[in-house]
């Protein structure tokens, strides 16, 4: 088991490294190929003079060979560096240093650090909601296929899948914030500072996001469960004289949920960094919002930072799923 975990962790590190190389190449090389210097994306919105351009190219090392530039980028992330414009005092940028956003006048790391907890809160909370909701609806539907409950559940989930968040989100806001006034507009607060306000600011986004995914999971659980309940080992469990409850929950659901774990991990991992619409609708400043903002501003260092963080989140989620899978499915060789 230890060996299995070590191998998987090493594999994940390699993947992250490849992601960093690809990200670096796309974002550094892209401007070069279009014959504009990356410098333009590293300074404020006013284009630099020819002299300034040369100065900055030297300072940031854009005339160095690619591997040297990559090493500079990587060593910044790994060991930190200090950033200076050559005039004011150097800004220390501790590891992991993703560089400096001259458009926002802030360290990229700080911006990520502010945005990431919002996205993680959003994804994690919604994930718990949709997992519980989706699996419950799916299981109940599967136990009585074709019944009224099944039809309501599956029609409802079809509707939920079809409704985009920019529809359900405003509807939720309209009902709970403006009509009922149950959840007045509150700003996001970190859970460590004010858990209640954190909860209040998160609950509607969670519901909106979970609604969409719960529908997918309900359908997935239903089809897995239907298949599992037809398996021979379910017949064996019934032949032993187990109660219907034990047969369904211990023997049926256990097997039906195993493939769902994989999808769940990847879904949650993907969501961190891609909940742009939800964040926009509910005015949350998460990674999705940050990525949109930085794309609009052509803020290259921030785009690179968000890309890498989102990729790392997905890789970690995958790693957890892999390890978890070996625990829940004994047939996976460890």
């Amino acid at each position: 088991m230890v060996r299995f975990i070590i191998v998987r962790v090493l594999g994940a590190i390699v993947v992250v490294w490849i992601v960093s190389v690809v990200t670096f190449l796309i974002f550094q090389l892209g401007p070069t190929l279009t014959h504009t210097s990356p410098v333009y994306y590293y300074v404020g919105k006013i284009p630099p003079t020819a002299e300034g351009l040369k100065l900055l190219t030297d300072r940031f090392g854009f005339n160095l060979p690619l591997y040297a530039q990559y090493w500079h980028f990587l060593s910044g992330i790994l060991f930190g560096q200090s950033i200076t414009d050559g005039v004011s005092a150097p800004i220390p940028c501790p590891s992991p240093c993703f560089g400096y956003s001259f458009r926002q006048n802030e360290l990229v790391g700080n911006m990520l650090l502010q945005a990431a907890p919002v996205s993680i809160s959003l994804a994690a909370g919604a994930a718990i909601l949709w997992l519980i909701g989706g699996v419950t609806v799916g299981t109940i539907s599967a136990l009585r296929p074709g019944s009224v409950i099944d039809r309501i559940g599956m029609t409802g989930s079809l509707a939920a899948v079809s409704l985009p968040i920019f529809f359900t989100g405003p509807i939720l806001l309209l009902i709970f914030e403006y009509q009922l006034g149950w959840l007045p507009d509150v700003a996001y607060a970190p859970i460590s500072q004010d858990p209640l306000q954190w909860l209040k600011s998160m609950i509607l986004p969670w519901i909106a996001l979970a609604f969409l995914f719960a529908a997918l999971y309900a359908r997935l659980t239903r089809s897995n469960m239907l298949e599992t309940m037809g398996e021979d080992y379910i017949r064996t469990a019934r032949a032993k004289g187990l109660s219907q409850r034990t047969v369904v929950l211990k023997h049926g659901l256990r097997a039906a949920l195993t493939p769902i774990v994989t999808i769940f991990g990847i879904d949650v991992g993907t969501l961190i960094g891609t909940t742009v619409i939800t964040e926009t609708v509910f005015n949350l400043r998460g990674l999705g919002f940050l990525s949109i903002q930085s794309i609009q501003n052509e803020d290259l260092p921030v785009i690179m930072g968000v890309t890498i963080v989102a990729a790392v989140a997905l890789v970690i989620a995958n790693l957890i799923v892999d390890i978890l899978y070996a625990v829940i499915d004994p047939r996976v060789t460890v």
Binding site: Y233, T236, A237, K240, G241, R331
Partner: protein, 356 residues
């Protein structure tokens, strides 16, 4: 006919009038979009403790459906079950799901064809057997474990205590079937139903498994229903045989009668298609031509009429118009065929036996 309440006879002891297991006019019909599938249509048989009954027939003849009906595994499905099943004085067809559930595992145990798919892949073999014990016995996990290890030893699993924590995929096929037997018998049920227990196994292991079933059957003095399509297994193991075709019993008798004096053309066909050591190796096996009937449109008259080579010997084409009754031809030997008994024996002697 359907019985709506559970009747328990005051004395559950066994007599000829009240055998341990009595199945009477059992019908299991499934309603589907294409029509009603009559998987089992009017099956009647008795079984005493200490006896082994073999049910033979080809795929789709209703063997497994019968066994699952006895276990009550069709409850809460779209099956419509009528008739009577009496087990040790209790009627099961009309009993509630909960009543039958209590009896599953404790009064009647079942083993299935493919032990790999019949065992849950995510739980250890030991845990699955202990679970079967704990449903019916209020004991601690530790006691159940001890009991399970004992049972695993009894079914011949070496290092039982160590293998307790193994998963099904870590067992060999024969071991898995042994574990299934251990699971079915851990509560010492008096009825064991084995649904093709050796079909998925290596030939070298088949005999061991049959031997194990036989010895445990003797030890527990239980009644056993052995479902198979392997006539060799029947000859080796069973006391009585019931031949099923198209959801009906076409011939029923003691094992010697069925092998030495079979009277139903379908049974002849089965025997002729069985390879034998003592037969000339150049001679070909004779398969039964044609396909089993659709259980949605069961043919009028005899169920076997489309494939029976002797249907032209019956006057007036009765085979195609009148459903033959299951009638005694000798003590403990019943046959469902329009050909008169004497004529059947004549055909057997002159036409069938020489080709066996």
């Amino acid at each position: 006919m359907s019985i709506t309440s559970v009747s328990t006879s005051p004395v559950a002891s066994e007599t000829d009038d009240q055998p341990f297991l009595r199945v009477k006019d059992l019908r299991v019909h499934f309603k589907t979009d294409d029509g009603i599938v009559k998987s089992v249509d009017g099956l009647t048989f008795d079984l005493k403790r200490g006896e082994i009954l073999g049910i033979v027939g080809e795929s789709g003849s209703g063997k497994s459906v019968t066994s699952q009906a006895i276990m009550g595994l069709h409850k809460n499905s779209n099956a419509r079950i009528t008739g009577e099943i009496w087990l040790d004085g209790k009627e099961l067809v009309g009993a509630s799901e909960e009543e039958v559930r209590q009896m599953r595992g404790s009064e009647m145990g079942m083993i299935f064809q493919d032990p790999l798919s019949a065992l849950h892949p995510f739980y250890t073999v030991g845990a699955q057997i202990s679970e079967a014990f704990m449903v019916h016995n209020k004991v601690s996990k530790k006691e159940a474990r001890a009991q399970t290890v004992e049972m695993l030893k009894k079914v011949g699993i070496p290092n039982a205590a160590d293998r307790y924590g193994d998963y099904p995929h870590q067992f060999s096929g024969g071991m898995r079937q042994r574990a299934m037997i251990a699971m079915a018998l851990i509560c010492q049920p008096k009825l064991l139903i084995a649904d093709e227990p050796t079909t998925a196994l290596d030939v070298t292991v088949q005999a061991q498994i049959l031997e194990l079933i036989k010895s445990l059957h003797e030890e527990l003095n239980s009644a056993v229903i052995l479902i198979t399509h392997d006539l060799g297994v029947v000859a080796e193991t069973c006391d009585k045989v019931l031949v099923m075709y198209g959801g009906q019993c076409v011939e029923k008798g003691l094992v010697d009668d069925l092998f030495y004096a079979p009277e139903m053309p379908y049974t002849w066909g089965l025997l002729r298609s069985m390879p034998r050591m003592d037969r000339d190796r150049q001679s070909r096996l004779l398969p039964i031509p044609g396909q089993p009937p659709s259980l949605i449109n069961i043919p009028k008259g005899c169920v076997f009429n489309t494939r029976c080579p002797f249907s032209d010997r019956v006057e007036g084409g009765q085979c195609f118009t009148k459903h033959p009754e299951l009638l005694d031809t000798a003590p403990n030997h019943e046959v469902r065929c329009h050909i008169p008994s004497e004529e059947r024996r004549e055909i057997l002697r002159t036409e069938i036996l020489p080709t066996l």
